[in-house]
């Protein structure tokens, strides 16, 4: 321990004595660690943010939507989910808490109010939409079963639609024009913000049947079904039941279903897989720069040993044993790398935070402890591995030759 402290002291003196050279030597490590930290902090910030958003989505929901493979598209066969499927699923599958159809618009016209128009996602759905999507009503009321039965021309809108059309703060009672028909606003949905950069407040919800009429041509009906399960543990079982049922009703015999069942959990998993992969690839690329930095350190340490041959000789003459010299040089390269790691950490974090702040709507950078530990550990490893050769060279110098060295 005594030797360790004394050798660290000597190593620090030496690093300080060659300030500029030490800095340049560690530049490789600094850049390496800085890029690791910057990359990881940005990606981690993103995935942290995504995870948080998913918390709000309700992880006990499943969506079922049609899927047409490329082969089938070429053959002109399109998979569909229909009212009949909705009926089947809601009556024959057990463990469902609530279920709702989602009918997307087949027209592209904007939502209008007088001369103003705005983009709105027009969706036809039922009153259970609210439970499945955890949607809360701020003003007025939500769609009801009787709205649906009597195909009333009413709608519930999101805040960005209200703002886009310059409707009053409380838009209930106003009329808006959707695909050339007038609808009365009966409710305003509470603001949800964005998710994954997608606006969630631009919805215009109509009664399912009213929407069907707007879309026209019921033969080509294709809906999405969203449902929530009573018990999260039953999710795979429910998903399995739905799949069996729909395969039977669609007369599917091969392996390829003409529909997909996706849970929020799955979506989150696939996104975290993507971010993990990105982190890994970027981490791999920048660890190469750490390796290069390590070689730079070894190079300078070898030069330093040669340059200080005489000093090493002096130390040996006055009684330094081999392991003392070895430890001193090893610690010097270790300290160089750790200092480089520290500087790199700060720069990397600043860069990550800076980049995240510069991109609008980007989540803040987030440095996880493991990234810090890993890059520090890697720097230390680089210092040790690339310090061994120079330190061994120094330790094995013959004192007489070293003293005679010019």
């Amino acid at each position: 321990m005594f030797t360790f402290i004394e050798c660290s002291r000597a190593a620090l003196i030496s690093i300080k004595a060659h300030g500029l050279r030490s800095l340049l030597t560690t530049l490789g490590i600094i850049i390496g660690v800085a890029s690791v930290i910057a990359t990881v902090s940005i990606v981690q910030g993103l995935s942290f943010n995504i995870n948080q958003q998913f918390e709000g989505l309700g992880s006990n929901s499943l969506s079922i939507y049609s899927y047409t493979s490329f082969d089938d598209q070429l053959r002109g066969r399109f998979g569909r989910i229909t009212d009949r499927d909705l009926q089947l699923v809601s009556t024959r599958v057990s463990g469902i808490e609530s279920i709702t159809p989602i009918l997307s618009s087949r027209f592209n016209s904007p939502v209008r109010k007088g001369a103003r128009s705005t983009y709105g996602r027009v969706i036809g759905t039922s009153e259970t939409y609210r439970e499945v999507n955890q949607l809360f009503i701020e003003q007025g009321r939500f769609l009801s079963d009787s709205d649906n039965q009597s195909r009333r021309r009413v709608c519930v809108i999101g805040v960005s639609v209200r703002d886009g059309l310059s409707l009053p703060e409380n838009p209930v009672g106003e009329y808006i024009e959707i695909n050339n028909e007038w609808f009365k606003v009966i409710g305003l949905a509470e603001a949800k913000g964005e998710m994954l950069g997608l606006q969630q407040d631009d919805i215009v919800l109509l009664p399912y049947n009213s929407m069907q009429r707007l879309n026209g041509n019921p033969a080509e009906l294709d809906i999405q079904i969203q449902l929530t399960v009573q018990n999260l543990d039953d999710m795979p079982k429910v998903s399995e039941q739905v799949q069996q049922l729909l395969r039977k009703s669609h007369n599917i015999e091969g392996d390829d279903d003409d529909f997909k069942i996706q849970s929020a959990e799955q979506l989150r998993d696939s996104i975290s897989q993507i971010t993990a992969a990105v982190t890994l690839v970027m981490g791999g690329i920048v660890s190469i720069s750490l390796l290069v930095g390590g070689i730079g350190i070894m190079n300078i340490m070898l030069v330093s040993v040669t340059e200080r041959t005489r000093e090493i000789g002096i130390c040996k003459a006055i009684g330094a044993k081999r392991h003392v010299i070895l430890l001193q040089f090893l610690l010097e390269s270790l300290l160089l790398c750790l200092l480089g790691g520290l500087v790199g950490l700060l720069i990397g974090y600043a860069a990550g935070a800076g980049i995240a702040a510069m991109i609008p709507d980007f989540p803040p950078a987030y440095v996880s402890l493991w990234a810090v530990a890993l890059s520090f550990g890697f720097s230390a490893l680089v210092g040790l591995v690339f310090g061994i050769a120079p330190a061994a060279k120094a330790a094995n110098l013959d004192p007489i030759d070293a003293l005679r060295y010019e």
Binding site: A317, I318, K321, I400
Partner: protein, 226 residues
């Protein structure tokens, strides 16, 4: 019993085809508190003898008893310990550590003895005062004159209280006035009880010593007492 006993020391080097007989059967006893000079032309083997006496080098054959212990066959780390404990080196070109202050240079050997910082500093201050450098302790070597540097080197040699002070041409890089001062210091150190072994080719320096050993072709050719 003598402090140092060299028995039949041989040291041969292979230089290409030729064998250089650097030391060719040297036997010598040195008692405690002796003041002894080795002289001789270059290539006479005095430097090799010095290296062996200083435990920097091992003899090819023969025995070297230092304080009654045979150090001729120790390994590198054991030799380092002997150097730290028993030998105080003073070199022609001072060999101070350039980035350390005078004080830190003098403290350096005590690090290898695992002495705590405060004890090291105390011991170093005492010897620096002894060599008259109490005012220059915090200067770096390149801020000191040649004579001062050699005094730092002497202080560094003294700080471990070695059995033997080993000086290799200690005045070789100094002007004549400084040489006189340094030699006076050596004389004083001898009177205080230190054993001093010096290598020199200057007759004036050798005259300070009580005993002069002349080397030639790896052998002791002549010895006399002043």
């Amino acid at each position: 019993m003598s402090l140092i006993s060299l028995v039949d020391i041989y040291k041969h080097y292979e230089m290409g085809q030729e064998t250089v007989r650097a030391l060719d059967g040297v036997s010598l006893d040195i008692a405690a508190n002796e003041y002894i000079a080795f002289t001789g032309a270059s290539g006479s083997g005095k430097s090799t003898l010095m290296n062996i006496l200083g435990a920097l080098d091992k003899p090819g054959s023969g025995d070297y008893l230092l304080n009654g212990h045979n150090v001729a066959h120790l390994n590198q780390d054991q030799l380092a310990e002997v150097r730290n404990r028993d030998i105080g080196f003073i070199f022609q070109n001072f060999n101070l550590l350039p980035r350390l202050t005078a004080l830190a240079n003098v403290m350096q050997p005590l690090i290898y003895r695992s002495l705590p910082l405060r004890a090291r500093e105390q011991a170093a201050r005492i010897v620096l005062e002894r060599v008259g450098l109490e005012k220059r302790m915090h200067h770096l070597p390149n801020q000191l004159s040649g004579g001062q540097r050699q005094r730092v080197a002497i202080a560094r040699a003294l700080v471990t209280r070695p059995s033997l002070l080993l000086a290799d041409e200690p005045t070789g890089n100094l002007d004549s006035a400084t040489t006189r001062d340094i030699m006076q210091l050596f004389d004083e150190l001898h009177r205080e009880g230190n054993t001093i072994v010096m290598v020199t080719h200057e007759p004036d320096i050798a005259r300070h010593c009580r005993r002069v050993v002349r080397m030639q072709d790896g052998k002791i050719s002549e010895q006399y007492w002043n």
